[in-house]
């Protein structure tokens, strides 16, 4: 089974985000990029399937700052092949453009299963999985928290609110949007990643034409104004506790 995992790097929210002087995009000067959390789960789910059923796993990412480390990390976890797509990528680019740049490379790999994170926190014009699926002519199911494959079909668990799950059968090839891998993304020792860097390699492919149309034109990006902020309770713990008792009475629960 041939599994492809397209990944995206997104702004690391540990660093404070600021707006670019043009007013409608993020300032990338100090921005650090990190693997999108759900893509990390997609990589993990792919490796789990490989361990269970013996698939080949190819991880595909855009040529942005930090991509090599991320790809080698995936290889240290067990990915078989790493592909870096070169082209005019930047972190603010719409997913429509991103996926149109990726689709020919992924098509050429003839995937049986494409696993990608169900969403990324900077998705302003759709999700990579949903857009890519249509480009590839494959069905898409998102919010997946379990996958097993047999007889050319994937049996998946799809998450609904309140802990409800729907078990669905998807005919391959298909694209799945991973919400959670069946086990949390494993830890990989730095020495293993360094080993992967020494002995492994990253293939390069050019991106296809990247059509930016398909998303909104952002007029303004801004940090949310604390639209009404909580009245903060001052004083030492004793004073705070006393005030909380009054507040509980105000709420009608005491």
């Amino acid at each position: 089974m041939n599994i492809i995992v397209p990944i995206k790097l997104v702004p690391d929210l540990v660093e404070e985000l600021s707006i670019d002087t043009c007013g409608n995009a993020l300032d990338t000067a100090w921005m650090r990029l990190i693997l999108s959390e759900f893509d990390d789960h997609a990589i993990e789910q792919a490796i789990l399937l490989k361990e269970k059923d013996g698939a080949t796993v190819t991880v595909v990412g855009p040529d942005v700052d930090g991509i090599d480390d991320v790809l080698f990390g995936a290889s240290a976890k067990g990915a078989d092949r790493l592909i870096k797509i070169t082209g005019d990528f930047n972190v603010g680019m719409p997913n429509h453009a991103f996926t149109s740049g990726l689709k020919d490379v992924i098509n050429a790999l003839q995937p049986d299963l494409v696993l990608t994170g169900v969403q990324a926190h900077n998705d302003l014009d759709g999700t990579v999985g949903g857009l890519l699926a249509e480009h590839l002519g494959m069905p898409y199911v998102g919010y997946i928290s379990a996958v097993s494959v047999s007889g050319g079909k994937a049996l998946v668990k799809k998450e609904y609110p309140g802990g409800l799950l729907a078990e669905m059968e998807v005919t391959l090839p298909a694209v799945l949007g991973i919400q959670a891998a069946e086990a949390p993304p494993r830890y990989v020792a730095i020495s293993k990643v360094r080993q992967a860097m020494k002995t492994g390699s990253i293939d390069e492919e050019s991106a296809g034409e990247m059509d930016p149309a398909g998303g909104p034109t952002v007029e303004r990006m801004y940090l949310p104004e604390a639209a009404g902020r909580a009245t903060m309770i001052e004083g030492d713990p004793q004073a705070v506790v006393a005030r909380l008792i009054e507040i509980f009475k105000e709420a009608g629960v005491l």
């Binding site: 302003l124 998102g142 949390p184 398909g214 509980f248 709420a251």
Partner: protein, 320 residues
């Protein structure tokens, strides 16, 4: 091409989801500016009854056995022709396990632009979206002449999209839905929880700040003293410190208590969207920049462990 605003109705096992009503409220705002009608699009099988509370000018009803339960491919195939034919000004989907399975694929299939994560609109067609964990807002104009949109809760109250006067239901023929590659096999219920937190009046919720399972016992004491229950955000449940039935958030339950006391919860959007129905929110977090403080009525920067023992004592005394 029309100036109508379409809302794709989300329903699960006989119940219309709250996000649908939120979308209807948002659609109403957009229709005021566009001059078109609000049309709810209901896909299902023998599901006409679900139309009656939808505050729309018209409900377009598509019936097929293949649409009885949501599956992405069937719904996409059913919806694509109507959207293509009518080219509404905007089509609203929920940013959910249902809507998000449809919007992106339809965007490519129908070559229509898509705007994600919208919380509110203006009549003139302006949208406001939240991205990056709620830390960044973006606004602009919904691309003309026709856009797809996914909406998150919080901008409008579900009550604003509900009605006691059912609107006209128009049956729309559905194209053949065969050769489907996505098939529902069955549903799996969540573990029978001890309590249904969505019905509780007092909820004390813990986040990462609780640090470990042992500390939850202390929070339990407070909950008991106040006659409420303990719930938690995703990190706490993922660690196994609380059962899944206590999860509050996008993939857990939405709650509407009289009092929601958030201890050590930062207020990430996936959590916050599930507590906006609370009558009063009080937040305790040592981080003064935690987003939860924008939502809470009262807040304290104290360490929750400095407050809890004394607070439990005082509550017990107050109750007598």
């Amino acid at each position: 091409m029309s100036q109508d605003i379409y809302v794709i109705v989300e329903h699960l096992r006989g119940q219309v989801a709250d996000i649908t009503y939120v979308m209807l409220a948002g659609a109403r705002v957009l229709s005021q500016g566009s001059g078109g009608k609000v049309k709810a699009v209901l896909c299902g099988h023998n599901a006409q009854a679900l139309a009656k509370s939808l505050a729309a000018d018209e409900v377009l009803y598509l019936d097929s056995p293949a649409l009885a339960d949501f599956t992405s491919e069937a719904y996409q195939k059913a919806l694509a022709p109507i959207i293509t034919e009518h080219q509404p000004r905007a089509v609203l989907f929920g940013s959910t396990s249902i809507g998000a399975d449809l919007a992106s694929s339809l965007s490519v299939r129908l070559s229509l632009p898509l705007v994600n994560s919208c919380s509110t609109f203006e009549p003139d067609g302006k949208f406001v979206s939240q991205i990056c964990g709620g830390k960044i807002m973006a606004d602009g104009a919904l691309p003309a002449p026709s856009s797809l949109v996914t909406m998150i809760p919080g901008g409008y109250k579900p009550e604003q999209g509900q009605t006691a006067q059912p609107s006209t239901v128009t049956s729309v023929p559905v194209s053949a839905l065969d050769g489907l590659r996505v098939v529902l096999k069955n549903y799996i219920e969540p573990e029978a929880g001890d309590v249904d937190i969505s019905k509780e009046a007092v909820i004390i919720s813990v986040g990462r700040g609780v640090q470990n399972q042992d500390n939850i016992a202390l929070v339990e004491e407070l909950a008991q003293a106040l006659g409420g229950v303990v719930a938690g955000s995703r990190p706490v449940v993922d660690q196994g410190w609380l059962p899944a039935s206590r999860l509050i958030g996008k993939s857990g339950k939405a709650v509407k208590p009289k009092l929601y006391l958030a201890l050590g919860i930062s207020g990430a959007p996936e959590h916050v969207e599930a507590i906006t129905g609370s009558e009063m929110i009080v937040a305790v977090n040592t981080d003064p920049t935690a987003p939860i403080f924008s939502l809470a009525k009262y807040g304290s920067e104290q360490n929750m462990f400095d407050l809890l023992p004394d607070l439990v004592e005082q509550v017990r005394q107050a109750k007598g």
